[in-house]
């Protein structure tokens, strides 16, 4: 495939998000200016000017009219997607790290970093339909995890909030009460900071990536560990294909693979794994620096990666991507059937 290279950011990328229909791609970077691109040809549509610090995360509403961004300048901002104007600013006492709209876009979950005396926290804010009615009051505030919370997303039907961060534990909180419902097992879970979280299209399972060089797949209801994908690099970003049983893992420095004679573009690659077999399918090289962000287009036919090099690379899959055969798949299915029967 011929990736489309988009160099709109001066600083490393932090996050990528497609809108629900898959025609817009939002990119966040450390350069204070989130950008929106057309997802088919990579043409830039516009930038959202206003933040004074690195933008860590963003989310877009279902109708693609509202954008929420979280930044290190201790604010989260609401924007009009089409015009780029700021609608509202939520102020916090510490840098905001992760933002996520709920189903229905009536609520948003925002996490803040530990800063000075403040511990990290998860805030739930109400989002008004009319921006002029918007207030900054919190519906719920959850405290508890030690260290930074890198990612918090809404669980199925907005009943729960799933968070993961520096303490390597993935937690499920009840939205009504704010209490901790479930916690990932310490031995089988991640051993180092969890950097990223990606949920499946139907919310039944989600993927976490960690600096312990692995990514893990969890069942959403019970928080049991289902699969583990091992790489040689610390994982910065994870994504799940909505179409095929693939997960993509992007990360940092490869310790063993330092060759100086490679003439090709860039050596940092996004690794594709088969979700069920846990086997590596392959890698897509190209980035000149560690990959910090990954996102799949909701139609599953393209994906984009954002790197430390400031580039967004948009890949439309070749037809033979959809025909990848994993030799051991049938054997695996037969084995599982036998186990089920016996």
């Amino acid at each position: 495939m011929r990736p489309i290279l988009m160099k709109g950011h001066e600083r490393p990328l932090t996050f990528l998000k497609y809108n629900r229909e898959g025609d817009l791609l939002f990119s966040c970077a450390k350069d204070h200016t989130p950008t929106v691109w057309f997802a088919d040809n990579g043409e830039r549509l516009g930038t959202y000017r206003g933040h004074n610090g690195a933008v860590w995360c963003c989310d877009v509403s279902r109708d693609s009219t509202r954008l929420i961004t979280g930044s290190a300048d201790q604010t989260a901002k609401l924007w009009n997607v089409q015009t780029g104007t700021q609608l509202y600013t939520f102020n916090f006492g510490s840098p905001t790290r992760s933002v996520d709209f709920s189903i229905g876009d009536k609520l948003a979950v925002i996490t803040t970093d530990p800063f000075m005396e403040l511990t990290s926290a998860i805030h739930v804010k109400r989002i008004a339909r009319d921006p002029s009615d918007q207030t900054g009051e919190s519906v719920l505030t959850i405290k508890g995890p030690q260290g930074r919370i890198n990612r918090a997303i809404w669980g199925p039907l907005n009943r729960t909030i799933i968070s993961a961060g520096e303490d390597a534990v993935t937690r499920v909180w009840d939205t009504e009460t704010g209490k901790l419902i479930n916690e990932s097992d310490k031995e089988s879970g991640h051993q180092k900071t969890v950097t990223s979280l990606a949920k499946s299209a139907d919310w039944s399972h989600f993927l976490t990536g960690s600096l312990d060089k692995s990514a893990k797949l969890w069942d959403t209801r019970t928080l049991t560990l289902v699969k583990t994908y091992v790489t040689e690099r610390p994982v910065n970003a994870v994504a799940m294909s909505p179409l095929l049983d693939h997960v993509v893992i992007g990360g940092g420095q490869e310790a063993s693979h330092v060759t100086t004679t490679d003439r090709r573009a860039g050596k940092f690659e996004a690794k594709f794994f088969h979700k069920i077999l846990q086997e590596e399918i392959g890698g897509v090289k190209g980035h000149f620096g560690p990959i910090n962000a990954l996102a799949f287009n909701p139609d599953g036919r393209s994906f984009s990666s954002g790197g430390e090099d400031g580039y967004v690379r948009l890949h439309h899959f070749d037809p033979d991507y959809f025909n990848i055969k994993m030799g051991s798949l049938w054997k695996h299915i037969i084995l599982e059937l036998h186990e089920a029967i016996d």
Partner: protein, 303 residues
């Protein structure tokens, strides 16, 4: 959304410019059209499996010459996007923020010049890099059929011949080899196995004279095979014959042990490759002791 990348049209002039059949000054528009029957019909070679479409048209150019215009278009679909109504509407949104003043030539969004593949993982031990011969600088030098320049003194390849070596002082005198070839070989083996605490003679210590033994091996590469020797030809004869071309490090004549007669061939090792080359050129076919000598490069022996 399909994107078409047009290739520029190429025009070929069929008639030479000086034979003007029609003088354009006397033509008006209608006349020009009347003459269209002189032109071959327009051909469209429809899109093949690569999406390449060729349109061949014939026209009269300004000078009245028949011109064949071939337009080659390759239509490549980057992505099949079935856009919803609202997505189509979004496509026509105005640019905002930093994108407002976007010049047409701004290279913010580019298609990669390289084809990037989803590389399947390889079995450990086999590397993708092995197939990329062009990356090896030596391969590119040897490609044109040129001889690989090997300097025996410093061992550097592709830079200079031995006689032009900037490190000439490392070379050891060749006479020493003829006297003690076997001795140096055995002592080299011994030095390899001895530990650092045992005494290592100066000739065998690292660096310095170590190049002497290496040189000996390199001399084997300048080995010249001499065939069709007469029965009583021996080493001194060959030495005398070949030394006129340059210093010789070693001579050998194969002798049948039982009969004491020469088996008709021998080897001469020159110090310098050019001397060996000149010897080959001069002595090949030379009449020596009533036999025509055959002198050529010896093929390297497998040790």
């Amino acid at each position: 959304m399909a994107m078409a990348f047009d290739r520029p049209a190429s025009a070929t002039i069929q008639n030479p410019p000086h034979s003007n059949k029609i003088r354009w000054g006397e033509l008006d528009e209608d006349d020009g059209e009347d003459l269209d029957f002189l032109l071959p019909p327009r051909m469209v070679i429809g899109p093949d499996e690569n999406g390449v479409k060729k349109v061949i048209e014939y026209k009269f150019n300004n000078e009245g010459n028949k011109v064949k215009i071939t337009t080659t278009t390759r239509i490549r679909k980057l992505a099949k996007a079935r856009l919803s109504k609202s997505a189509v509407e979004r496509r026509s949104w105005a640019k905002f923020g930093d994108a407002v003043h976007e010049e047409l030539g701004s290279r913010l969004t580019m298609v990669s010049t390289e084809e990037i593949l989803l590389e399947r993982p390889r079995a450990p031990g086999s590397k993708a890099e092995e197939t990329k011969v062009a990356g090896d600088p030596l391969a590119s030098i040897a490609k044109g059929g040129a001889v690989l320049m090997v300097c025996r003194t410093c061992g550097k390849k592709g830079d200079h011949w031995t006689s032009k070596c900037p490190y000439k002082d490392l070379a050891v005198q060749p006479e020493s080899f003829i006297d003690k070839p076997s001795a140096s070989e055995t002592t080299v083996a011994a030095a390899g196995t001895s530990k650092s605490t045992t005494y290592v003679p100066p000739t065998l210590r690292g660096g310095g004279d170590r190049s002497g033994t290496d040189m000996k091996r390199r001399n084997e590469e300048n080995s010249v095979r001499v065939t069709n020797l007469s029965e009583d030809t021996r080493e001194p004869d060959l030495l005398e014959l070949f030394r006129t071309f340059g210093p010789v490090s070693r001579v050998y004549v194969a002798v049948d042990q039982k009969t004491g007669v020469s088996r008709g061939f021998g080897f001469v090792n020159f110090v310098n490759k050019e001397d060996a080359e000149r010897a080959i050129n001069k002595l090949n076919g030379y009449g020596y002791d009533n036999l025509i000598l055959r002198v050529e490069w010896a093929t390297p022996r497998s040790n």
